[in-house]
Structure formats: structure tokens, C-alpha cells
Symmetry: C2
Subunit: 193 residues, 2 copies
């Protein structure tokens, strides 16, 4: 499974043989069955993680007991819901679990920092990803405070068609912050048009 990650990296940046070996030496693969947790709320998280295979979600349970999905992480993406706990070393507020059977590549925080120090091109790459994520997040806030439920859903399927086809509808509703019933009705209306 490391080869998936390797291929991903090689498409983005130039790495020497030694660097790749160094990265591999600190990488661990974790297999998850469907519904299995990668991280449970109240645990401390200490890894950077990349989805080699499968599909993962980050969510939390709100004060009314509802599951709220913060993020989907399909294969070939970093999981970015765990940053808060990773940075603060405090127990996580979020859960991460597998939507499909998955294989996750883990790199311990300290190892990851070592890698970034030793491989400047990796460091730059990671920073550019962080920046992209930040911009995407900002985008999402705009969508959230501006759009109606319908507009949000349209925007979502047009932006993430792959995810939209792959996860249950009620999870999309949870991600958008609307009820599953409302989403169902929106979909019905949309087909009419």
C-alpha cells in the first residue's frame, strides 16, 4: 500500500531514492474495516494520515446528539480533521471512521516534522496543501452563510461528484448541516426540473 502514497508523491514532487526510503521507514499502514474508528473523540491524535484506499469521514456529535460530518477524505487525500488534536496534543473533539474498508498511511507527528526538515521540497508541498485546504475551508464558510439548502446541495454535487455518488445521502445532509428529510425533498424537486 505504500506504493499508492509513493505514486501520489512522485506525481507532485521530485524525490530522491533515499528520501523515499526515509519516508517509507517512518510510514505505517493501518487497515480499517467498514465502520471502524481511526480516531475516537477524547483520544489524543499524533499522526499525519493519508488515505491509500477506501473512504473516511471526520465527524462529531453535537449538543443535541446529532452526528455532524466535518469532512470526507477519499483515497489519495490527506485526512485533515485531526489537525486540532495533533497540534495541541489535547483530546480530539472529532471522530474519524471508515465509510468503506480502508487502508490508511500513518506518519507520527515527530517523524513527519523530521521529514519536512530534511526534505525541503516535501515541506513546501505540504505547506501548499495546507494553504489549499485553508482556502477550501473559507470557501465552505461562504457557501454556508450565503446559500439556501438547495443551493448548497447543488454546489456540493457539482463540486464533489465522486463523493456525492459514493456516500449515503444522509451523510451528505449531515455534511451540509441540513436534515436528511430536507435533502430527500430537494432531490425530488431537482429531478422534476
Amino acid at each position: 500500500m505504500f506504493d499508492v502514497f509513493q505514486k501520489y508523491l512522485e506525481e507532485k514532487i521530485k524525490l530522491t531514492e533515499q528520501n523515499l526510503e526515509l519516508i517509507q521507514s517512518v510510514s505505517v499502514i493501518k487497515k480499517l474495516r467498514k465502520h471502524q474508528y481511526l480516531l475516537q473523540a477524547d483520544d489524543v491524535w499524533q499522526y499525519n494520515s493519508f488515505v491509500c484506499k477506501g473512504f473516511v469521514r471526520t465527524y462529531y456529535v453535537d449538543n443535541k446528539g446529532q452526528e455532524r460530518i466535518l469532512n470526507f477524505s477519499p483515497e489519495n487525500y490527506w485526512i485533515c480533521g485531526d489537525k486540532a488534536s495533533l497540534a495541541s496534543k489535547k483530546p480530539s473533539k472529532y471522530n474519524i471512521d471508515a465509510i468503506d474498508a480502508s487502508e490508511i498511511l500513518l506518519i507520527r507527528k515527530t517523524d513527519f516534522e523530521m521529514l519536512c526538515k530534511k526534505i525541503p521540497v516535501l515541506n513546501d508541498f505540504i505547506n501548499s496543501i495546507s494553504q489549499e485546504n485553508f482556502i477550501a475551508m473559507q470557501e465552505r464558510i461562504c457557501v454556508n452563510i450565503t446559500f439556501t439548502a438547495e443551493e448548497q446541495y447543488t454546489n456540493f454535487i457539482q463540486k464533489f461528484p465522486a463523493i456525492a455518488n459514493r456516500v449515503p445521502k444522509h451523510m451528505i445532509a449531515s455534511y451540509l448541516g441540513i436534515s436528511a428529510e430536507t435533502l430527500s425533498r430537494l432531490r425530488k424537486q431537482a429531478t422534476k426540473k
Copy 2:
């Protein structure tokens, strides 16, 4: 005004005399009157910017013609609403203008990258700020998709009392994504309790 920025930096990281001079050599101060634009939508933005004095907001105009505030940046904070244009070199979707008369320190993107290259401790510091911002953003999304208007407002004043006291109410409403009328009614209710 550079001294405000210098003081800010020195509280956070150790810098040599030369490094400080280097930073100062690429810094420019821009004064803004109340209501003056720092950045207007459709312009390209190429600076990292820090508020030395005053108060600034980042906002956009939605498809219904409403102003939506994405961010407030008080003094001693970086302005982080301009990242998308800065990264992509594309015209900005956002406007930035002064809520109060302000003085903004600007560092051109290329100069800023040079600084980060030459001053590792600055680079690390900037990265940690980016991370904090990212986490705050994530937090905001949670609040947004979970909370009612009332909960959001309570959360806001408790989290940013300084901002809450300083900006007009209708801007807070705009930031939260609720109407000014609703906010007014919430406030009325709150005083009753």
C-alpha cells in the same frame, strides 16, 4: 508604525538585529481612512498584511446583493481574507476595507517568501499561525452547521468580546450569516434573561 509589528514579532520569536532590519526593509505601511478599501474585488492581491492599528474587515457581496463578512482583523492580527488571491494570482472575490482608520503593514509576496527562506524561525512561526487559523476555521464551520442563530451569537460574544463591542451590530449579523433584525431580537431576548 513598524515598531508595533516589531513588538509583535519579538514577543513571539527571537530575531537578530539583522533579521529585523531585513524585515523592515521590505515592509511598507499603508494608511487607511475609515471605509477606505485595502483590496477591492476583482483586483489581484500580492501582499501579506498585518494590522498595526485600527480594524479591518474582509467581505464579499453575495448573489442576492448582500454583504457577507468573512473575517474581522483587529490590530495585532494578520489579515487572512486575501489568501486565495495571493496564492492563485487571480482576481480576488473579496473586498477588504477599514472599519476604523487603520495602518496596515504590507510585505510583498515574493519578499515574504524570501524572508521565510532566510529566517527559519519566522517560517516556523508563520506556519504555526496558519495552522491556528485553519483550526479556527474548522471550529467556525462546526458552529455554523450546528448552532441556532442565538447560540451562534452567544458563542461569538463570548469568544470575541473585543470585536463584539467594537463593530456595528449589523456587521456581526453579517459575519454570522443572520439578518440584522434577527440579531436585534436575539439581543432583546438575552437581556430579559
